[in-house]
């Protein structure tokens, strides 16, 4: 085994950091918590870079195919000789890529937060939570079995909850954190049932064995799970759809996306880390992890993934065009980009060059992590400067914040898919994969990429142009160097990450993919993106009434997009009106009257009886003596007359 145990240190260092900062942070490290957190994460980042180098260049390949390597495995809970929950580390290309992405983005966010969260009274707690999140996310990507991933999945959910609700004095933040937790928890219920179904039929929880048992045609496990069915759908499809439901909840896919925009109540660096680059792609990661099962054994479930992804991408892009809170625009754009990754997985096949979609999805995950966290950190800088999330309070900031401006522009170009920025390369792969297998999805994706360019540049112009610069009274400069440096590093990556030879490293079956997207294919998407940018330039480069006029003309469509297509209202209607009235109230009535009533009745009877007999406990010696004599006399009579 060429992979030494230092891989285990990658998640354990942040865990140790969490314990130290969580237990002693407020007392001893209130000033130095940021430095401690950042340094420990730096160590993790270096270790994961070493791991990546070791895996991709030295030891990961055998016979030209990247292997899944189990670094270590510890049997934790043994249920039966064949079924146990293990704790282990599994290394394969996507794990290694996720390790690098998570530690790197997390490091940038730690660094950025040094300036952004300065003066925060619970500074140490904040870094403790960040470390907890990083630990859980790293544990999630390293998990070697599906139950372990579920544990870390929930841990990630908890740390997301803690960080969204970090400003717990604000009622909106509390509501948002609760919403995020409940919605994702609801989705995780599906995930758990999916795990149970999968493990019930395949008698294992280990990813490697599970995938092997459920993909080999003719394996008894596959036949069993396929022949069992419920409501006309086979157990395998149910299981995979339920697992996907968990993934869709974490990844904010329609219709479980409602928590993500609200999650922007958390501190902005947190949004950059959790709700843009790492946690929200956990769903994509999960589908990618089980991809062989999806692709080889159950194309129907994969179809669902495709259409959910494509619809979410399109749906979120439309909403993003109308929002006025910059973080919400970015949130919807995240949802849209994750939709891209999802449908890219959906249109992919398992082996060889047909696995383009899988590779494109992972590639997009990789580039998206950089440019989206850059966008969020840039937005964080802007919010730090103007103390507002609303577009109308911004405008004309390009002179005041030159570095942020340039970095933000690079990120916008990257997400819009303009060559040679990183988003272009990954998006091309995805579009190509969609073009080859599903023209409808391709059309949606193409239109969405035009929309993406439009709304990103609407955002960009509204922040940095649109108004003269002197409308702002600069309280302070652009921010400390710890805030600028991460922006610059991420900007460089957003520029060049597209040149990473991901195709050589990551594919569904481990073998490199050689297909190149032809130049001619790229013309249409790039032209659409440029069109979107130009349209946004026309509308938003200076403040004018044209956007307002267009909005009035679109009328109902604009209004419903502004209200996020009333999905929140629909949820409220379903939960408050239907669930509360039809299930909650009767259940409460039953609980109050029947359950409590029965117990109250018992208590009343007991009380009544004791009231009746407590007089006998009179405290008078002679009464007791009388009872005693009465008892003896009674016994004597009983003996005389009944003892024959």
């Amino acid at each position: 085994m060429s992979h030494p145990i230092y891989i285990a240190l990658i998640p354990l260092i942040p865990l140790a950091c969490f314990f130290i900062l969580g237990l002693f942070g407020r007392k001893y490290f209130s000033g130095s918590a940021g430095v401690i957190g950042t340094l420990s994460l730096l160590a993790s980042t270096l270790l994961s870079l070493i791991t990546a180098y070791e895996y991709f260049f030295v030891s990961g390949k055998s016979n030209g195919v990247f292997q899944k390597i189990s670094v270590f495995k510890y049997t934790w809970l043994q249920f039966s000789p064949s079924l146990s929950i293990d704790m282990g580390i599994l290394i394969d290309p996507i794990t290694v890529m996720m390790l690098v992405v998570v530690t790197f983005v997390s490091l940038m966010v730690h660094l950025f937060s040094l300036g952004y969260m300065k003066g925060e009274p619970r500074f140490a707690t904040y870094y403790g939570f960040l470390s907890l999140f990083t630990f859980s996310m790293l544990g999630l990507v390293l998990s070697s079995n599906i139950f372990q991933i579920y544990l870390f999945w929930e841990l990630v959910g908890v740390s997301s909850f803690l960080l969204i609700g970090f400003y717990f004095e604000k009622p909106s933040a509390v509501a948002a954190s609760k919403k995020a937790f409940i919605v994702t928890r609801f989705a995780d219920l599906g995930f758990l049932i999916g795990i149970l179904v999968l493990s019930f039929y395949s008698h294992t929880l280990d990813f490697g064995i599970l995938i092997e048992r459920l993909t080999n045609t003719g394996s008894p496990y596959l036949i069993a799970i396929n022949s069992a069915s419920f409501l006309g759908v086979s157990a395998l499809t149910w299981a995979l759809l339920l697992v996907f439901m968990g993934g869709a909840g974490k990844s904010a896919m329609f219709p479980l996306h409602i928590w993500l925009p609200d999650a922007m109540e958390g501190p902005t660096p947190v949004s950059a880390l959790i709700h843009a680059a790492t946690m929200v792609v956990a769903g994509v990661f999960l589908v990618a992890r089980l991809f062989p099962v999806f692709a080889l054994s159950d194309p129907e479930a994969l179809q669902v993934v495709t259409y959910t992804g494509a619809f979410s991408a399109f749906f979120a892009a439309i909403i993003a065009c109308t929002q006025t809170d910059i973080k919400r625009v970015l949130a919807y754009s995240t949802m849209s980009q994750i939709g891209y990754m999802m449908f890219a997985l959906g249109v992919s096949k398992y082996s060889g060059e047909d696995g383009l979609g899988y590779m494109g999805s992972m590639f997009h995950l990789f580039t998206h992590a950089f440019f989206k966290s850059l966008l969020f950190l840039g937005a964080g800088s802007v919010i730090h400067m103007v103390h507002s999330n609303e577009m109308k309070d911004m405008g004309g900031l390009r002179k005041l914040m030159p570095i942020t401006h340039i970095c933000f522009l690079i990120a916008c170009l990257a997400i819009a898919g303009i060559p040679p920025f990183s988003g272009f390369f990954s998006k091309e792969e995805i579009l190509m994969a969609a073009f080859e297998s599903n023209r409808l999805v391709y059309g949606i994706a193409l239109f969405t990429s035009g929309l993406t360019a439009f709304y990103m540049f609407r955002l960009y112009y509204s922040i940095f142009w649109s108004k003269p610069a002197d409308t702002h009274h600069a309280h302070h400069g652009e921010g400390t160097w710890t805030m600028k440096i991460p922006l610059m590093i991420l900007a460089v990556l957003a520029l060049f990450a597209g040149f990473t030879p991901i195709a050589n490293w990551i594919s569904a079956d481990g073998a490199p993919i050689h297909s190149k997207v032809p130049i001619t294919f790229s013309i249409l998407p790039v032209a659409l993106a440029l069109g979107g940018i130009l349209f946004a330039t026309r509308l938003f480069i200076t403040a004018n009434e044209l956007p307002g006029r267009i909005a009035t003309q679109l009328g109902g469509i604009y209004k419903s997009a502004l209200h996020k297509f009333y999905i929140d209202e629909l949820y409220l209607f379903v939960t408050k009106k239907i669930l509360f009235n039809l299930i909650g109230r009767p259940a409460a009535w039953f609980d109050k009257n029947i359950v409590d009533g029965f117990m109250n009745l018992l208590a009343k009877i007991t009380g009544y009886l004791s009231d009746m007999i407590k007089g006998y406990q009179s405290g008078k010696v002679q009464d007791y003596a009388l009872y005693f004599f009465g008892g003896v006399a009674g016994l004597v009579i009983a003996f005389i007359y009944l003892w024959k």
Binding site: S618, G619, K620, Q622, A625, F629
Partner: protein
Amino acid sequence: MNEIPLNQILFLSIGLFFIGAYGLFTRRNMITMLMSIELMLNSVNINFVAFNKYLYPDKLDGVFFSIFVITIAAAEAAVAIAIIINLYRSHHSIDVEDAGEMKY
């Protein structure tokens, strides 16, 4: 010399016993209650001795038993008087009705 018939002795002892019981339940003074208990014990002693004499004249079991009862009664009287003294110290009274705290 005519022997006293057994049932007359039993009448005596029943009389003593119920006088004692009546005293125990009606008197509130603890000394009097103690005296009532002694009366009841003595009625039992009379029974023992009488039955011993009339049923098993050649044995002494009943007599022994009554001596035991007398001994126990002496000990019991000592304990009871100690209790009464303590009660008097804490309540300044030897009326049982005044010591009624141990109730519901």
